[in-house]
């Protein structure tokens, strides 16, 4: 009788403990990312501190390697082994691919509670949603189509920052005649692709960009407008110095800083270089969008939440998602990283002029339907299709291929890649 009572007691208490367990789940998150240097590392640190302050346990899993190649290999191995990390830094269409493979969890609860549909532009929502449900949370927005110019160098030929592509060519011709390198460029495939897509946006317009680079409409890809784009790319090739192959992007930025070159076409991470060198926006350098009809090419990093088991893991993911898209973190992170918040309602007081311009332009582009994903930076396209664009753009830029041949090759490559 005594033993029976004891057994009953322990059984009841056991049930009571396990029943109470979910309520005591400590949010835990293992975060896989490749932000391992400088401002990026500080930005991740800020997220970690906010997470821990809310009672969470953060397990850091950084994988060094700028473009994320090494991280992609680690992620693939872990998912195949059945042990995915809770949150992973992934971009653009890769999120869709992982969701299609059934590896991502569902963030609808947090999204509804925090009202994400209201504060995120539609273009960004499309990146982090799969079949209408949120599977990832966006962290920031980088603008790709910037011209970074040295005003003192431009003043030497009496020019300002060009606002149309005709003006760009005229200014570049004047600069060349004066012995100044018009365009500082680094000859790496992704940089060639960056210039290519700003030219597509500018020469073809936002509708053409959407048809050709986002929707892969074959008529648009084979059109005369595309031939014009490659004609302009051929002109751009004439505006760079002979040493450009293989040059890193930050060395090209340094050329503009030193006054050796007048302009660089690069995303807003170039701003970080100017800031690190103590240059002042508007005085030592000017930021302006590349000539286009209010287009805005965006590059955005997101954290995708993978299917993990365990209440503490799920609680950790929810907490992480809530924090990442919270106004406080959005401001802190983007001040460190040099990009702008993905949320449209963050206070602008602490951001510099170029960032404020970027935020204003993003809102107006979202309203006008001209907010587009960058192809070169894996938002509009990824994998084989993006590779096809890059191959043709870089092959054309580095050889004397004719524009017609380039268009023919582009059509063939895109067909092959799908």
């Amino acid at each position: 009788m005594k033993t029976f009572a004891r057994a009953l007691c322990s059984a009841v208490s056991l049930v009571a403990i396990t029943a109470a367990a979910p309520a005591l789940a400590e949010p835990k998150a293992e975060v896989l990312h490749y932000w391992t240097s400088g401002g990026e590392a500080k930005a991740v640190q800020a997220l970690q501190e906010a997470f821990v302050a809310r009672g969470g346990k953060w397990v850091d899993a950084p994988v060094a390697g700028g473009g994320g190649d090494a991280q992609a290999a680690v992620l693939r191995a872990r998912v195949l082994a059945g042990d995915p990390p809770a949150a992973v830094q992934i971009k653009g269409p890769n999120i869709q691919e992982w969701a299609e493979a059934g590896a991502l969890g569902d963030l609808s609860a947090v999204a509804a509670a925090q009202d994400w549909d209201k504060v995120l532009p539609e273009a960004i929502q499309n990146i982090v949603k799969y079949e209408g449900k949120y599977v990832a949370v966006p962290v920031n927005v980088h603008r790709v189509d910037w011209i970074w110019a040295n005003p003192e160098v431009l003043a030497r030929v009496g020019a300002g920052v060009p606002t149309t592509w005709e003006e760009f060519n005229e200014t570049a011709d004047k600069l060349q005649a004066a012995g100044i390198i018009p365009l500082a460029h680094g000859g790496q495939p992704w940089q060639d692709a960056t210039v290519f897509e700003t030219v597509v946006l500018g020469i073809g317009g936002t509708d053409f960009y959407r048809k050709a680079l986002v929707e892969l409409d074959m008529d648009a890809l084979a059109s005369d407008t595309m031939v014009e784009v490659f004609d302009q790319m051929r002109k751009m090739r004439g505006y760079v110095d002979p040493d450009f192959p293989g040059r890193d992007w930050n060395l090209a930025t340094a050329m503009v800083m030193r006054g050796e070159a007048a302009m660089q076409i690069m995303g807003d991470w170039a701003k970080g270089e100017f800031a690190a060198a103590g240059k002042v926006a508007g005085v030592d350098y000017i930021c302006a969008s590349t000539p286009s009809d209010n287009g805005y090419l965006l590059n955005s990093d997101s954290f995708a939440m993978f299917n993990v088991k365990g209440d503490d893991n799920e609680a950790g993911q929810e907490l992480l998602a809530e924090l990442i898209l919270g106004t406080e973190f959005q401001e802190t992170f983007n001040l460190f990283k040099g990009s702008i918040p993905a949320r449209t309602d963050v206070a602008r007081d602490n951001f510099d002029d170029c960032a404020i311009k970027s935020m204003t332009d993003m809102v107006s582009a979202a309203e006008g339907g001209t907010l587009l994903g960058s192809m070169a930076h894996e938002i509009a396209q990824s994998g084989a299709v993006r590779g096809a664009f890059i191959d043709v753009a870089t092959a054309h830029f580095n050889s004397d291929m004719s524009s017609q041949d380039a268009v023919a090759q582009l059509v063939k490559a895109i067909e092959l890649a799908q």
């Binding site: 190649d69 693939r76 192959p245 293989g246 994998g383 590779g387 092959a395 063939k412």
Partner: protein, 298 residues
């Protein structure tokens, strides 16, 4: 009672070599040949980001052979492979012959020529990239010395980038070829040479007609080792040209890496790996066949 016992020990002793080698053999069988079969299987599926085991036939190969990037890579492999092996063998042979002339400090000079082999291809690639940079390297130095029209910027030239790779690779490997040939030269029968020089043959003719032909096996070994180095070349391309300008100096190993790990095209990457294997087999199988056939005669 003792006889069965001895028999067992005997058998064990006889089989001992096989037993010792068995684990390594099994590992190689599984990890090398098993995975070659796996790669071959994957190259016939529609694997993109993750391996997918649904067969779709030879479409990955069709896509592979229609890609301009692949035809450039294969063409570069042949140019690079042939030039690298040929020039390394010639330079190595020349250095070995010169070193064989019983000179002073031979050990010291031999070590200097062999040093580049100790460096990784990444270092070689980076150093030669700086040397061939038009505004930092040799071209600038020579121009500053007065020869204004000197050009040596091979790494930034679409058509010459592959030859830049050849130059850096030859610099690295010719010392190794030299070491192989030197040891072979040293083991040539001195009596024949003495007889030939007594007959009035010039040193030149002795080398060409007697010594070098007798070194044929070493030539074959050197060519096989150098060919396998050429086909494996990946890190040299990454360090020296990054595959550029554009993709003018990319090699099949770089193509395979790009497809499989960067572009989420595992099937195409696997197909390119199988084609690389076929290329290697086309060289190795005849060589192995001739070697084994030769052994049988002995």
């Amino acid at each position: 009672m003792t006889r069965p016992h001895v028999k067992f020990i005997d058998r064990l002793a006889r089989l001992l070599p096989q037993i010792v080698v068995a684990p390594g053999f099994a590992a190689i069988l599984y990890f090398v040949y098993g995975f070659i079969l796996w790669t071959g299987y994957i190259s016939l599926t529609k694997s993109k980001m993750l391996p997918n085991y649904n067969l779709i036939g030879t479409r990955p190969y069709e896509r592979l052979f229609q890609m301009d990037r692949w035809s450039v890579a294969i063409e570069n492999l042949f140019i690079f492979g042939f030039l690298f092996v040929f020039v390394s063998v010639v330079v190595g042979c020349l250095l070995a012959v010169l070193l064989d002339q019983k000179i002073r400090a031979e050990g010291f000079i031999r070590t200097i020529y062999l040093y580049p082999m100790a460096i990784s291809f990444i270092i070689t690639g980076t150093a030669w990239k700086w040397i061939m940079n038009p505004s930092l390297g040799l071209e600038k130095v020579i121009r500053d010395w007065g020869w204004e029209s000197f050009r040596f910027g091979w790494t930034v030239d679409n058509n010459l980038a592959i030859y830049a790779l050849v130059m850096a690779a030859v610099w690295q490997a010719s010392g190794f070829a030299m070491a192989l040939f030197l040891s072979a030269l040293r083991s040539v029968d001195q009596d024949i040479i003495k007889a030939a020089s007594l007959d009035g043959a010039s040193p030149w003719r002795i080398y060409l007609r007697i010594i070098l032909p007798s070194m044929r096996p070493v030539f074959m070994s050197a060519m096989v080792i150098l060919s396998h180095l050429a086909i494996k070349s990946f890190d040299l391309v990454v360090a020296l040209t990054g595959g550029g300008p554009g993709y003018a100096s990319t090699l099949p190993a770089n193509f395979m890496y790009e497809m499989t790990f960067r572009r989420n095209e595992i099937a195409v990457g696997a197909a390119s790996a199988m084609v690389m294997l076929a290329t290697v087999a086309a060289i190795m199988v005849p060589y192995l066949y001739s070697e084994l056939r030769g052994k049988k005669h002995v």
